[in-house]
Symmetry: C2
Subunit: 258 residues, 2 copies
């Protein structure tokens, strides 16, 4: 029987509120099985960009990452947020290690080709090296990964955290029984965008296609759910989307199924 | 017989010049034995502090680290510099992992008590956990440590990189034959501050006391050399101070002896 592994992606506004983040990390540290945390940090990066006089540029929910923006992204994701998360987890007796995709060569990526839009220093995942992640997990060290990859030639690249979570979960499902949890500020995928309590308890892949067509699901939720289904198709056992309560209770959120 | 280990501390202006840093990392990656790199990043932190409208405060060569300054220190040390160094090392086929003292609980420290000066969020080392460092070294992964520690209660602390290098080298000398190299922009400890070529080839502990008394050695060089002698007294085999050439040639620099 495979060991259980929980992969949690934290995003949205959860990272910006100290109390919310602390409560989330307290719950996360109490997950008994092996676990991995993956985070971005978009809003904090944008705050620092503005303070430094650089205009944040977001197109279709994705950040245009020029050279100066990349430096701020590296500073906030791999520096400020990653190290704060790790030091808080240590205070909850959860031994953890903060990593970017260049550390231990974990995430190799190709700089995205310029087509309609030049995204700048954005990377599309080429290869995930899971050996060192497995080593950490067997040493009882929890990897905390920020959403940066590298090209192997010295260039760090900005990579979507949802995509990293999906890809890593898929790779690790060869060895573990993986449950993937996407945490954000909402209770789940809403059936009606105007009603925050209108949670869809279950979304199958065919539901997803209908919900896209009738525009119940749109914008950034589309790639997020695509990442969910990709993970399920690649061997991940369970995928949930919801607020931090899903760390302890999988009933009041959205469960994705094929 | 013990395995050889080289611990290199890079500091000063070497971190600010892209070409110099690349050349240094190329040489560093070619060290065949086990190795560790330790870095600070003072000048880059000060640059960002100024850009963000925060005045850098340095007293007796040490940074006063208030809350806002600490965030910038974390961003530049653990983020920008640490991840750039790691991604460049990866491009030289040197598999490395960027770490702060909170990662894997490597450096536990106490926040410095307020006496004459309130240094703010500055940590004095309490304990170094070398187990994970040894694990990385046996996995052929080179640890790249930035000069941050933590208090185990969720607080990151700014800690002098020279002191970290000395302490880690001392601890690891129980298992390895350690050579510690302090790299900066000068060729070594100068016999005459006005002559950049007046290198002292050798400084013993009694020489050091004389040189302090006659003020040939002063300011920041005093704690740096104190760290060197502390390392030698605690089992480190060789300590050198010089420019990046000391990575390949130990003859044109300053060798410290007891």
């Amino acid at each position: 029987m495979k060991d259980k592994l929980t992969v949690v992606k934290i995003g949205g506004k959860l990272l910006d509120n100290k109390q919310v983040l602390n409560k989330f990390l307290d719950s996360f540290s109490k997950i008994k099985e092996k676990k991995i945390l993956i985070h971005g940090g978009g809003i904090i990066a944008s705050d620092y960009l503005i303070k430094l006089g650089i205009s944040p540029k977001i197109v279709e929910g994705r950040r245009i990452t020029d050279k100066k923006t990349l430096d701020v992204v590296i500073m906030t994701y791999a520096g400020l947020l990653n190290k704060k998360i790790v030091s808080i987890l240590q205070s909850y007796s959860c031994n953890s290690v903060g990593l970017s995709g260049s550390d231990c060569n974990i995430i190799l990526a190709n700089k995205r080709e310029i087509r309609k839009i030049d995204y700048g220093f954005v990377g599309d995942i080429k290869k995930i090296n899971t050996k060192i992640i497995k080593d950490f997990l067997s040493l009882k060290i929890t990897p905390v990964l920020c959403s940066l990859s590298h090209d192997g030639k010295g260039q760090i690249l900005n990579t979507n955290a949802d995509t990293i979570a999906s890809n890593i979960s898929s790779e690790l499902s060869k060895k573990y029984d993986v449950t993937l949890k996407y945490c954000f500020e909402k209770k789940g995928v809403l059936a009606n965008q105007k009603k925050t309590n209108s949670i869809r308890k279950n979304i199958s892949k065919s539901d997803f296609n209908t919900l896209k067509q009738n525009k119940t699901i749109y914008d950034g939720m589309i790639p997020k759910l695509e990442n969910c289904f990709l993970a399920l198709e690649n061997g991940v056992k369970n995928v949930f989307v919801g607020n931090p309560d899903i760390l302890t209770n999988e009933k009041n959120c959205t469960k994705l199924t094929l």
